[in-house]
C-alpha cells in the first residue's frame, strides 16, 4: 500500500502542499483559515478550468497555448453583446462565450489535424491571430465595474456558504466552485468512461497504433481542441465576473503559468500520461504559491522564482525516472 503510494507523483505533490502549509502557518496564522482557503479557491477556479483543457490537449500528445486569447475573446464579446442587447442573463453569456470558444478551438483543431503542424508553434500563431483579431475588429475599449452588466456582478459575488470571521465581517465560498466542479466531473467522465477518452489517451501514447486500432485521429484532434476552446469559453465568463472589469489585453501572457501547473501535476508533454488529480494538485501548488508568498513576508516579485524552481524540480524528477525506465528497456529515444 505504502509502496504503491510512494511510486505516485501525486503523493509527492500532496506532501509538498502539506509541508508548505505547515511552514506558512507557523509564520503566519492567517493561512489556515476558511477565509484564506475560500479566497484561494475563488482565485484558482479559473486556472483550474483552463488546466482541465490543457490536460486533455497534453494527453492527446499536443499542446495548446492559445486558450487565454480564446477565453478573453469569449468573455469580452459576451460582455459587449449583453451590453448592446440588454439581455441581462448569465446563461446567454455562457452560451455566447462557449460558442466562440468552440469555434476558435475548431479552427485550431482543423489547422493542426489537416496540415499536421507542430502544435506549439501553430497555437502560438493562433494565440496572436485570435488576440489580434479581437483587438483590431472588436475593439480595445475596457468595460469598468459600473458599466458591467449585473448578471456578471451577481455571479462574481454570489456565495454558496457564508461565514463570519472574528471581526464580524462576512465571507464565503464563491459560486465559482460550481463551474469548476462541473468541468472536473465532465473531464473525468470523458477520460474515464467514454471511447473518446480512450482515444485521446491512445493517440497521445502512440499515434500509429491508435490509427491501426481504428481510431479516427482527425475527429479526435478536432474534439480535443474544441473542448479546450469550450472550457476557455467557460473560464472567460468566470474571469470577467471575478475581476468585474474587462479589458481585451488582460489574461494574455498567463498561458504558460497554466501549462506549468499541469506539468507540475505530472502530465507528460509527450502525451498519453497524466491524471486529473495530479493536475488539480499542480494548480493548487501554483495558486497557493501565487497567493500566499505575501504571508511569508516575501513580495509578489518572488512568485515566478519559486514557481520556476518547482517546475524544474518536478519535471526533472518525472523525466529522469522516465529516462531510466527507457534505458532499461533499451529504448534510446531522447
Amino acid at each position: 500500500m505504502l509502496d504503491k503510494l510512494l511510486k505516485k507523483h501525486e503523493t509527492y505533490l500532496f506532501l509538498i502542499i502539506i509541508a508548505y502549509a505547515v511552514i506558512v502557518t507557523s509564520v503566519n496564522r492567517s493561512f489556515m483559515t476558511f477565509e484564506n482557503l475560500f479566497d484561494i479557491l475563488r482565485s484558482g477556479a479559473g486556472m483550474g478550468i483552463l488546466a482541465m483543457g490543457v490536460l486533455v490537449a497534453l494527453l492527446s500528445g499536443g499542446i495548446d497555448v492559445s486558450f487565454t486569447a480564446v477565453a478573453i475573446s469569449g468573455g469580452y464579446i459576451a460582455v459587449r453583446v449583453i451590453m448592446a442587447t440588454g439581455v441581462d442573463n448569465l446563461f446567454v453569456a455562457f452560451v455566447i462565450s462557449c460558442s466562440i470558444g468552440i469555434f476558435l478551438g475548431l479552427i485550431n483543431g482543423l489547422i493542426i489535424s489537416y496540415f499536421k503542424l507542430p502544435t506549439l508553434i501553430a497555437t502560438l500563431g493562433t494565440l496572436n491571430v485570435f488576440h489580434g483579431a479581437l483587438t483590431t475588429f472588436v475593439g480595445t475599449e475596457s468595460v469598468n465595474a459600473r458599466q458591467m452588466p449585473s448578471c456578471f456582478v451577481h455571479f462574481g459575488s454570489a456565495k454558496i456558504i457564508t461565514l463570519a470571521n472574528d471581526q464580524g465581517s462576512i465571507y464565503g465560498l464563491s459560486v465559482f466552485v460550481i463551474p469548476l466542479i462541473a468541468v472536473i466531473v465532465m473531464t473525468w467522465f470523458i477520460l474515464r468512461f467514454t471511447m473518446l477518452g480512450r482515444g485521446i489517451y491512445a493517440i497521445g501514447s502512440n499515434r500509429e497504433s491508435a490509427k491501426r486500432a481504428g481510431f479516427n485521429i482527425t475527429a479526435l484532434q478536432l474534439f480535443v481542441y474544441s473542448y479546450v476552446g469550450f472550457l476557455a469559453g467557460i473560464m472567460g465568463v468566470v474571469f470577467v465576473s471575478e475581476v468585474r472589469w474587462v479589458n481585451p489585453v488582460t489574461l494574455i501572457g498567463t498561458e504558460l503559468t497554466v501549462i506549468a501547473a499541469v506539468v507540475i501535476g505530472g502530465t507528460k508533454l509527450t502525451g498519453g500520461s497524466g491524471t486529473i488529480l495530479g493536475t488539480l494538485l499542480g494548480v493548487a501548488i501554483v495558486t497557493v504559491l501565487y497567493n500566499t508568498l505575501v504571508l511569508l513576508g516575501l513580495s509578489a516579485a518572488w512568485n515566478n522564482f519559486f514557481v520556476g524552481i518547482i517546475i524544474i524540480i518536478s519535471i526533472g524528477i518525472t523525466s529522469y525516472r522516465n529516462k531510466i525506465k527507457n534505458r532499461k528497456s533499451l529504448s534510446f529515444k531522447t
Binding site: 500563431g125 516579485a301 512568485n303 520556476g308 531522447t334
Partner: protein, 343 residues
C-alpha cells in the same frame, strides 16, 4: 548524385526567400515613396533588427537539433539586468569617469555573457542529462530566469549606463551601425560553425535522428549542451544591444520577440522537427520581417494588428511548407517508380 539533389532543394528554398525579400522591398518602395527607400530609414532599421535577429539565430540553432528554446528572452532579460546592476553599482561614485568606466563596462559585458552561457548550460543539462523535453525544460527555466530577474529588481527598471556602453546600441562605424556589425559577425560565426566544423555536422545529425547519431558514435549529450550554451550566449549578446538601446534593463523587455523569433526561423526554412535549416535563409527571413515591420509602423498599425499579421504569417508559412514538402515527396516517389519502370 543524391548530394547534388540535396543542394538543389536547399537552393530553391533560399532562392524563393531572396525573391520574396526583393519583391517586398520593391513593392514597399512604390507604395511608400520617399519614406521607405532612404538611407535614414535603412539605417534606423539596421539599429532595430539585430536584437531580435540574434534571438532568431539562437532559436534557429535550437530548432535544428529538433528542440526549441522558449527561455531566450528570459535569458536576455536576466543577463541584461546583471550587466546593468554591475554598471550602475560601480559607476555611481565616479560619475562615469572615462578611464575606469571602460573597464567596468568590459567587466559587466563579460559577466553578462558568462551568466548567459550558464543559463544555456542549465537548459542543456536539463534536456540532455535529465531527459526533459526541450519545450518543458525551457518553459521551466523561462519562468525561473525571469523570476530571478523579477526578484532582484522587484520589476523596476535598472537605468543609467555610461556613454561608452551606450555606443553598443547607438554607435556607428563609418556608415554602419554597431548593432548591425555585431549581428553580422555573429551570423558569420554561426554559419561557419554549422557548415565548416564537425560540431555543426553533428548538430544536424542529432536533429535529424538522435538514435542514429548516438549509434554512430556521437555524444548527443555534449552536442545538446553546447547547442544550448551557444543559444544562451546569442541571447546574451542580443541583450547587450537591447539594454544599450533602451538605456535600461527590466524584466519583460522584448516579450513580443518570442513569436517573431520562431516566425523568422520557420520563415527562413528551418524544419521545426529538426535536422534542417540554413543561416542564410534565416537572415533573409529576419530582413523580410524587419522590412514589413517598418512598413507597418509607417502605415500606423497597432501592435495588436502586427501580432495578428505575424501569427497569420506563421501559420500560412507552415501550411505552404507542408504543401511543398508533400509535393516534393510525391514527385520523388514518382521519379523513383519511373526509374524502376525504365530499368
Amino acid at each position: 548524385m543524391s548530394d547534388r539533389k540535396l543542394f538543389k532543394t536547399v537552393d530553391t528554398k533560399i532562392w524563393i526567400l531572396a525573391v520574396i525579400m526583393i519583391g517586398v522591398i520593391i513593392v514597399l518602395t512604390f507604395v511608400l515613396p520617399g519614406n521607405f527607400l532612404t538611407l535614414r530609414n535603412f539605417q534606423s532599421m539596421a539599429y532595430q533588427f539585430p536584437e531580435f535577429g540574434l534571438l532568431a539565430l539562437a532559436m534557429t540553432i535550437a530548432m535544428i537539433t529538433g528542440g526549441i528554446d522558449l527561455s531566450v528572452i528570459a535569458t536576455a532579460n536576466l543577463t541584461g539586468i546583471i550587466a546593468a546592476m554591475i554598471m550602475t553599482n560601480y559607476l555611481k561614485a565616479e560619475n562615469a569617469g572615462d578611464p575606469a568606466a571602460i573597464s567596468v563596462v568590459v567587466l559587466a559585458i563579460f559577466a553578462a555573457l558568462i551568466a548567459a552561457a550558464i543559463c544555456g548550460l542549465l537548459n542543456g543539462v536539463l534536456i540532455s542529462l535529465v531527459g526533459v523535453p526541450p519545450i518543458l525544460a525551457t518553459l521551466g527555466t523561462m519562468i525561473f530566469y525571469s523570476g530571478i530577474g523579477m526578484a532582484i529588481t522587484t520589476g523596476i527598471g535598472v537605468v543609467g549606463f555610461p556613454d561608452s556602453f551606450l555606443e553598443i546600441g547607438a554607435g556607428k562605424i563609418y556608415l554602419f551601425p554597431v548593432p548591425l556589425l555585431i549581428f553580422t559577425g555573429c551570423a558569420l560565426v554561426i554559419s561557419f560553425i554549422l557548415n565548416k566544423t564537425s560540431f555543426g555536422l553533428k548538430l544536424y545529425l542529432v536533429g535529424a535522428n538522435p538514435t542514429a547519431s548516438l549509434f554512430s558514435g556521437i555524444n548527443n549529450r555534449i552536442v545538446i549542451v553546447n547547442t544550448y550554451m551557444i543559444t544562451g550566449l546569442l541571447a546574451g549578446v542580443s541583450s547587450m544591444i537591447m539594454i544599450s538601446r533602451f538605456n535600461s534593463a527590466k524584466v519583460g523587455y522584448g516579450d513580443t520577440y518570442l513569436l517573431q523569433a520562431i516566425l523568422v526561423a520557420v520563415l527562413g526554412g528551418i524544419d521545426p522537427y529538426g535536422g534542417y535549416g540554413k543561416v542564410s535563409g534565416v537572415v533573409m527571413g529576419i530582413i523580410i520581417l524587419q522590412v514589413l515591420q517598418n512598413a507597418f509602423t509607417l502605415f500606423g498599425f497597432t501592435p495588436y494588428a502586427k501580432g495578428f499579421i505575424w501569427g497569420l504569417m506563421l501559420i500560412l508559412v507552415m501550411i505552404i511548407n507542408f504543401g511543398t514538402s508533400r509535393y516534393q515527396e510525391r514527385s520523388k516517389i514518382l521519379r523513383m517508380t519511373d526509374q524502376e519502370v525504365a530499368d
